[in-house]
């Protein structure tokens, strides 16, 4: 696969023999500033359909900002975002979500007042279309739609093995489970591209293993394209197909795990900076 060039729209085959499709998202020369501070400086990279793409880097490297740019929460001063082969106009986050990009958050952003079930149901809001009146009288369409989506959500609950906490308010759940519920909420949107912001932050070894398994299963079962930020190099190397390495807002490496591990700049960045 080393033969493939950046921004190529042809797919490739991973070492474990998975066929990866063409480019689904491409970031072109993205630059993001907050006042004077430059969070991201002229970064370009692409994400291929069906691959697991990792963005790594020391703290404050601008990884989260990059994710926020992708999910339309930050709007870069320069550069273009291409999605599904089209240049994406500046959009509101919810419009991005409707385009099929879902995400989880670094520090869990679940809706504390709701149950696991309801939280995951919110993931399907982009897909639920019945009008207010129909909902108000809860007759026919609304009720029917609710049931269809409940079915989908239940499949996800089953997939993530959280049946036992279905009706528990998420506030009461342990950290690891909350992370899982959040993943569920993102999955419920049946996203084309799934963004995971440090899905394993603050987890113990077993929880990390579970989570990795789920991420791989998601990619495998639903063929979802996944872009994730993660600190734990071990995990990243295990589960990701290609890795972008960032440091101080700049891109210092891009390629297969083995390639970036061999990259001197990357090594320096990691040895130089204490992360986690």
């Amino acid at each position: 696969m080393n033969t493939m060039t950046e921004n190529s729209t042809v797919g490739y085959v991973t070492d474990d023999g998975r066929q990866i499709g063409g480019t689904i998202m491409e970031m072109k020369n993205i630059t993001l500033r907050f006042g004077g501070v430059v969070a991201i400086e002229n970064i370009s990279f692409d994400i291929h359909e069906g691959e697991i793409r990792a963005i790594i880097g020391p703290n404050g490297a601008g990884k989260s900002s990059m994710l926020n740019v992708i999910s339309g929460f930050y709007h870069p001063q320069e550069g273009e975002v291409w999605f599904n082969g089209k240049k994406r106009p500046s959009m509101k986050p919810f419009e991005v979500a409707e385009q099929g990009i879902a995400r989880t958050f670094q520090n869990i952003a679940l809706f504390k007042g709701m149950t696991t079930l309801d939280n995951i149901m919110t993931g399907r809001l982009t897909k639920m279309k019945t009008g207010m009146l129909s909902q108000a009288i809860w007759w026919g369409k609304a009720a029917k739609e609710e049931e269809e989506h409940r079915q989908k959500v239940e499949e996800i609950i089953d997939f993530l093995e959280i049946q036992a906490i279905r009706k528990t308010p998420v506030g009461r759940l342990p950290y690891g489970l909350q992370k899982r519920v959040e993943l569920g909420r993102a999955l419920a949107a049946e996203p084309k591209l799934l963004l995971l912001d440090e899905p394993m932050a603050g987890m113990n070894v077993e929880e990390k293993e579970d989570m990795s398994r789920f991420i791989l299963d998601v990619n495998d079962e639903f063929g979802t394209t996944i872009a994730l930020i993660e600190h734990d190099m071990g995990v990243v190397m295990d589960i990701s197909d290609r890795v972008v390495v960032m440091d101080y807002g700049k891109k210092i490496g891009d390629g297969t795990p083995s390639e970036v591990l061999a990259n001197q700049e990357v090594i320096d960045a990691y040895l130089g900076v204490s992360h986690d």
Binding site: E155, I157, D158, F159, Q163, A164, R166, D217, E221
Partner: protein
């Protein structure tokens, strides 16, 4: 139920009957995706037919074995019946069995088809498949993670059904022909018993075995098509087969499958079964959790609980057995039912239980009485795979902790001189698969089967009472029956007594070593502010001795009532100065006392007991937690116990 029995000579036949008679009644329910997915008998029949056709499509032959590996799910029950209706033989396996056990069983029966739940089992089978020569096709239910597997011999359950439906015209005649060929004598199922010794044996049960026993047992408890059962015990266990297939198909009641192991208790509560089986340890666990949860309750609730549990203990069982109880008691029981029993049963999910059974091992009287006194009709039965479960069971109103009831309908029982129990019944199994010799020495020419248990029929009630494993029953000097376990169990039912070891084989009379229960007796000590520094000190306390002596005398009384065992009364005892311990080799790791070793190790004490001393000084080597060895010494008091004079014994020739 008994209408048109003429054709009801196989499970598929019963299925057909149910699809007509109870077409729209729920046959199976499974908690999945948050609700109870339901199939009525019509739908179930259709599913099963589709699968059967699918089997034919895969080229299944009559007499093939179809292994079933997974937790209780409707799909597996369908698979079993589908297999039967194409003339194949279902073989349910324990899904938690490790690879080589599985390899052995699969190899032994030579299963051509294996139906499994998910990736985990698929992997397990693939791991051993090269040892399996007849194995051809594996069918899984949950496709998760299996998409990338080689599907030449691997099929998804639903796909097989689809193919079956597609090929309906083609295979229907064949299916009907095969189903029609089934009769009372054709094999219904093969169940592997994990024999205490050696490899598991495949018990072959015919339709007659299953159907007749089901019929009898259903009539015995007059089960109707309105029962609800929760299927949660291993499918490989004969009990589950009889409850969830035999009886379910005979009466047409509904089988409910829990969502997963960890939601089992909630599912139990939601369904609220009316007919319920659980092993004693399950009830024990439930009771403990009840007690623990009550610990955190407020003072008032605790008081209420205690007050009304006393009432229940006093009159509950009587009321349940329909004996006459004073109005005052009835009233306070009624109140108790509002405040405690009702809610309690409800939270435990047992409020609708009409008939509950427990079996497998002796159940403690307190435990048993606890559930009875709540008004739950919990009963005991005695059975084994070879008998298609039922040998004896307790009729309503004649329920006691210490018996296992009267012979089930059509079951004959005889007790050999050595006390071993034999039975003969329509439920008696055909044979051990590919194992004529053990078949021979379990089942004699007239069809009598040895249970391997010793026991006797209680003259007064005609109930059977189990004493012990036959091989553990010895003789006393006078030839009377010596059943230490029997006496020890009685002793151990007292919370004060942790362990007891009774000796007396080839002796004139029985003596006992006692281990007191440190927590129980410790509590007593605190309440009566008896100071003690160590187990040893507490064990030596005269008060403790008195209590224990009282217990033993109680036991002697009850032992004396069974003339066969009256010789086993304990004449003398002492309380050991140390707790029997696996580290010292006195018990097995599973905390079973090693009588012989204990006898040798404490020979001096034994001699003292039989030598009529009133106390004895002894030193014993002990192993501490950290493995160091040390020795403790003590002077132990020896007490004589009042025994009930025994009329002349039944001669044992």
């Amino acid at each position: 139920m008994a209408q048109s029995d003429a054709v009801l000579d196989s499970i598929p036949a019963l299925l057909a009957r149910n699809a007509v008679t109870f077409g729209d009644k729920a046959a199976y329910r499974e908690k999945e995706y948050g609700i109870w997915q339901s199939w009525n008998w019509k739908e179930a029949a259709a599913e099963i037919e589709a699968l059967a056709l699918g089997f034919l499509n895969l080229g299944i032959h009559e007499g093939d074995f179809v292994a079933i590996i997974g937790r209780n799910r409707p799909y597996f029950y369908w698979a079993m019946v589908a297999a039967q209706s194409v003339g194949a033989i279902p073989v349910p396996l324990y899904q938690d069995a490790n690879a080589e056990e599985m390899a052995y069983v699969l190899g032994h029966c030579g299963a051509r088809f294996i139906v499994v739940e998910d990736q985990e089992q698929v992997d397990k089978v693939i791991e051993v498949q090269d040892q399996l020569h007849q194995f051809e096709h594996m069918i899984y239910i949950d496709p998760r993670g299996l998409r990338k597997y080689d599907h030449r011999r691997l099929h998804q359950f639903s796909h097989i059904q689809d193919q079956g439906r597609a090929a309906r015209e083609e295979f229907m005649p064949e299916l009907q022909a095969r189903t029609a060929r089934l009769n009372m004598d054709s094999t219904c199922v093969m169940l592997y018993t994990s024999g205490t010794t050696g490899k598991p044996k495949g018990v072959v049960l015919s339709n007659r075995n299953v159907i007749v026993t089901s019929k009898n047992s259903c009539e015995f408890d007059n089960l109707t098509e309105n029962e609800e059962v929760l299927a949660y015990l291993p499918m490989a266990w004969v009990g589950d087969f009889i409850f969830s297939i035999g009886q379910a198909y005979w009466t047409g009641f509904c089988v409910n499958c829990p969502e997963s192991a960890d939601t089992m208790m909630t599912d139990l509560r939601e369904i609220g079964p009316t007919y319920y089986f659980a092993p004693p340890r399950f009830f024990e666990g439930q009771l403990t959790s009840v007690m623990i949860r009550m610990e955190d309750a407020g003072r008032f609730k605790k008081w209420l609980f205690r007050k009304y549990m006393d009432v229940a203990r006093k009159v509950g069982p009587a009321i349940l057995d329909g004996k006459d109880v004073s109005f005052g008691d009835r009233l306070s029981y009624f109140l108790g039912n509002i405040f405690i029993y009702g809610p309690l049963k409800n939270t435990l999910g047992l409020s609708r239980v009409r008939i509950g059974y427990t079996a497998g091992e002796a159940i403690g009287p307190e435990l048993f009485e606890f559930y009875r006194s709540l008004g739950i009709n919990l009963k005991q039965l005695y059975g084994q795979t070879e008998a298609t479960v039922f040998i004896t069971q307790q009729p309503d109103g004649e329920v006691r902790a210490d018996t296992v009831g009267v012979p089930s309908p059509d079951v004959e029982i005889k007790i050999e001189d050595n006390g071993e129990i034999y039975y003969r019944s329509p439920g008696v199994f055909e044979e051990y698969y590919k194992n004529p010799e053990s078949t021979a020495d379990t089942k004699d020419a007239e069809g009598w089967v040895a249970t391997g248990d010793a026991g006797f029929i209680e003259k007064s009630s005609g109930h059977l009472r189990i004493i012990d494993r036959a091989k553990d029953v010895g003789k006393m000097a006078d030839g009377g029956m010596f059943a230490p376990k029997f006496v020890e169990n009685k002793l151990k039912f007292y919370p004060d007594i942790l362990e007891s070891v009774v000796f007396g084989a080839d002796r004139e009379y029985c003596v006992a070593f006692i281990n007191i229960d440190l927590t129980a007796v410790g509590n007593w000590a605190e309440r009566n502010n008896v100071a003690y520094a160590s187990y040893q000190e507490l064990a030596g306390h005269p008060e403790v001795y008195n209590t224990i002596q009282a217990h033993i005398e109680e036991v002697n009384k009850s032992v004396a009532q069974d003339e066969m065992l009256s010789g086993c009364q304990v004449h003398r005892f002492l309380i050991l100065h140390k707790e029997l311990d696996a580290d010292d080799g006195e018990m097995t790791r599973t905390r079973k006392v090693r009588r012989k070793i204990v006898g040798e190790k404490f020979n001096d004490l034994l001699e003292a007991l039989y030598g009529g001393k009133s106390e004895i000084y002894t030193e014993t080597e002990v192993t501490y937690e950290d493995g160091r060895k040390g020795s403790i010494s003590a002077t132990l008091e020896i007490r004589d116990v009042a025994v009930v004079p025994v009329k002349q014994k039944v001669a044992a020739e």
